[in-house]
Every structure is written in C-alpha cells, then in structure tokens.
C-alpha cells in the first residue's frame, strides 16, 4: 500500500464513484480481492480486504463474514435487497455500490494505490 489515504474506506468512495449502502467506518483495508466465485474468495482472499463482486446474494455476506472481509463493493450499479444490507450491517460488514464495471473499478483502485 503506497498511498495510505486511499486504503481508508471513505476516501475510496470518490475514486470509484461509489455510494455507501451501510454506515461506513474509518477502516484500513489490507488490499483488494476481486472474484465472483464464493469458494475462490474463501480459498484465496486475505482477511481485511475490499471484496469487489457483482454478486448481491446473501451468501456474499456469509462469505465476507467468514473471511473477516470488512467491505464489499458491488459493481455495475448492483445493490442487494434491504434485508441483506441489514444483515451485513449487523455483522459489521460495510457495503458499497459503484456504477463502474469490475474492470474499471479494478483499474481505478489500483491506480489510486490500493494494492
């Protein structure tokens, strides 16, 4: 992580034009992982990363919680149902949504220094 400023959540919002779906805390992210396969995330994501995915199903929250992933960013403007957002909030997982594609999101995050 070269630029500490973008590894904090609120700062990332502007980089990827994201909207918060839950309350956001000032959290230091350890990196980023992008995958739409839950088992892949379970196997390979590190704890404390930002997880970027297009999936908005409840299982995303379960997997994030299991891996101690603190924030999930949904791309292509996707948003989970209210009940799932509430569940994430309860488990202390922050959810965000960006209109950008996963590729654009990845590029911007990398460029901004989240590595």
């Amino acid at each position: 992580m070269k630029l500490k400023s973008v590894s904090k959540l609120p700062a990332l919002l502007t980089v990827v034009e994201a909207r918060p779906l839950t309350d956001l805390d000032e959290v230091e992210l350890s990196g980023c992982y992008i995958s739409d396969l839950l088992s892949d995330v379970l196997a390979n994501a590190q704890p404390g990363v930002l997880w970027v995915t297009i999936h908005t199903h409840r299982n995303v929250v379960s997997v994030a919680s299991m891996k101690d992933i603190s924030a999930v960013l949904f791309t292509c403007g996707r948003k989970p149902e209210a009940a799932i957002i509430a569940e994430a909030a309860e488990k202390g997982i922050m959810l965000l949504s960006t209109p950008l594609t996963t590729y654009e999101t990845a590029g911007k995050l990398w460029k901004a220094g989240l590595r």
Binding site: S39, H57, R58, N59, V61, M66
Partner: protein
Amino acid sequence: MSVAIPVEKKKTAARIEWHAGGNKRLNGVQARLTGKARSPAVALEKPFNTGNSDEPMPPAPAIEKTPSAGEKRQVSFAQMLVFELRVRDAMTSPPITAIATDSLRSIQHLMKAHRISGVPILANDVLVGIISIEDIINALDACHINEPVEPWMSRKIVTLRDHFSLVRAVAEFDRHGYGRFPVLDANNRLVGVITRGDITICLMHQLERRAEEAVAKEAALVATRAADEKAHRIVINTDVKSGDFESAGKLSQRIREVLRARGVAPEILRRAAIIAYEAETNIIIHSLGGRITTAIDAIKVRIKAADRGPGIENIDLAMQEGWSTAGPLARELGFGAGMGLPNIKRCADEFVIQSELGGGTRLQAAVFLHKAETRL
C-alpha cells in the same frame, strides 16, 4: 307382569335398527339356530364390511374433533394412540366363556368370580350367544335360574374383529350401546371380549409406557449433555435442505461464535468455518438433502457431513480444483467454482470422503484448535 318384556323389547329394537342396513338371511339363521355348525357370528360380521373397504371412519368422539388450541397436542397424541392400537391390544384374552348347556346359576357364579357382566356362550367351540347380567336377572325373576342358559341367551351377537382399531371399537360401542363385544380373529374363532373399560385401561397403560419412554429418553439426553459439558464438548446437528441457499452460512457463523468465545485463533476458526460452509453448500447444491454434525471439544472441531445422495461418480475428479457439476442456479449465485472439496481438504487437518453413485456422500473433516501452524 314381568320385567323381562320391556328389557327384551328394547334390545330387539336396537338390533333391528342395526340389521336394517344389511343382512336379511340372518333372521332365518337365528330362528333355526340350535348350535348349528355355522356360527351366526360369521354372518353378523357382514354389516361391518358393507360400504368402505376396511375401516370406514366412524364418527369420532366430539372432543377429539374440536380440541381447544391449548389441548391440541395432547388430544392428537391420544387420537394417535386410539388409531394405532387394535382391539387385540385391549381385549381380555382368553375370554371367560360358558357352554350352552351350563346352568344360569353356574354362569352367575362365573360372573361373580371374575367380576364380569357378560359371558359369550359356545357350542362346539363356535360362538352361539352371549348372556348378560340383565338376562340372568330376568331369568331369576321368572324362577328359571337353575335351567340351562340356551333359551335365555341373546343369539343376535355383534362381534368385533381383533384387527379393528380402537377408534372403531369406541364407535361401535356408541352405535350399539352394548357393554361388551365378543372379538373374533380372522378364522372366526372367539379370541377375546372387549369392554369400554378395557379400552380405557389399554390407553392408560400406553400413555404410561410412552411417558416412561419419554422420561428415559430425557434422562439419557441429560446424561449425554453432562458428559459433553465435562469434555467441553458442543455438538451441533444441522439438517441441510437441498436448494436452500438462503440458509447457507448459519452453521459456520455458529461455529465461529463458539470458537471465538473459546479464544481460538482467527485463522483456525476461519478454517473450521470454511469447511462447514463448503460442506453445507455442497449438500445444498448437489444432494437431495443431508445433515451436518459438528462436534467441538477442547482439542478439535470435527465436522461430519452426510447426504442422501445421489453420490459422486468420480471422487478424484471432484477433488480437482475447477471441476464442478453445479447447475445454472448455483453458478448464478456464485457457487460451482469447483473449489468446494479442494477448499475443505486444504482447510482440514484430517479429511476423509466416501461416496457412491446412487448412495450418499459422507465427508469427515477435523481442525485442531491449538496448532501453531497457520494455513490461511
């Protein structure tokens, strides 16, 4: 004037009402009956068999039909017993019987000795009549107490079969108003006598037995719990339904809570949670349903997953990363990466899988709680 007449009339009326639906031949048989080879009881069996095949549902006692909300469970349990139990379970067997040539006096003594109020009468081992205490009083009143029973007994006998349910027996008591029924087996042999009292006692015994069983079961459960507690063991049984993606993750959440409370290192509890999650989603995606038993003690977490099939055709292939048979719905939800089993294996300190096509799949994995090694 004799008391016998009104009593006899009343009885006849009841019988006519019953025969009206069925057997005309019967009256002829009875008129000529003198201990003949063919038992009237056989013919009398017929009206029961008209209409529905085996057990026409007689009107159940009203209390069973409209239980109040609070009593519902208890009533349905009693109801269950009444349906489950058969006449042969409640009847007095072997029955106290007399033969047609016995004197009324000897039958009176028989009734007194056995504290019963009715006796089936046999001739050549065939049921030919039944005599009640009322019949004996009538005979006594007419000074015939020392005569043979035959002219005084009732020949129109309603019998029950030993395989009838008790609920049907209760309905027959309600319908005929008799105090007892002779019970015949499939070979038309008299095998017992049943009264309302027999049914009550049988139900009480059954309830008592069930209660004892329940108490024993609970005691066993308490003992197991005590042993578990001593070993700091927690056992979580989770039934997993096929296709139930909504419930996925609850078990691993629970496992993490338990382990976290016990101060287990995060990466170790994470491994246990991933195993549980992958095992659970495997059952949801691929099987017809199954069960996961998680046992946590001071040393390790042991997760056993067993499903009801259809089984894995090629376990070696299934263990390869990227190989998956998941359907489109599962894939749409982000499953089917072909990483489930490899993930479980990677997270587990011990791992065994058995499967048979057409049978179920059984998987057992263990994670040691205090291993220094970190794997994820």
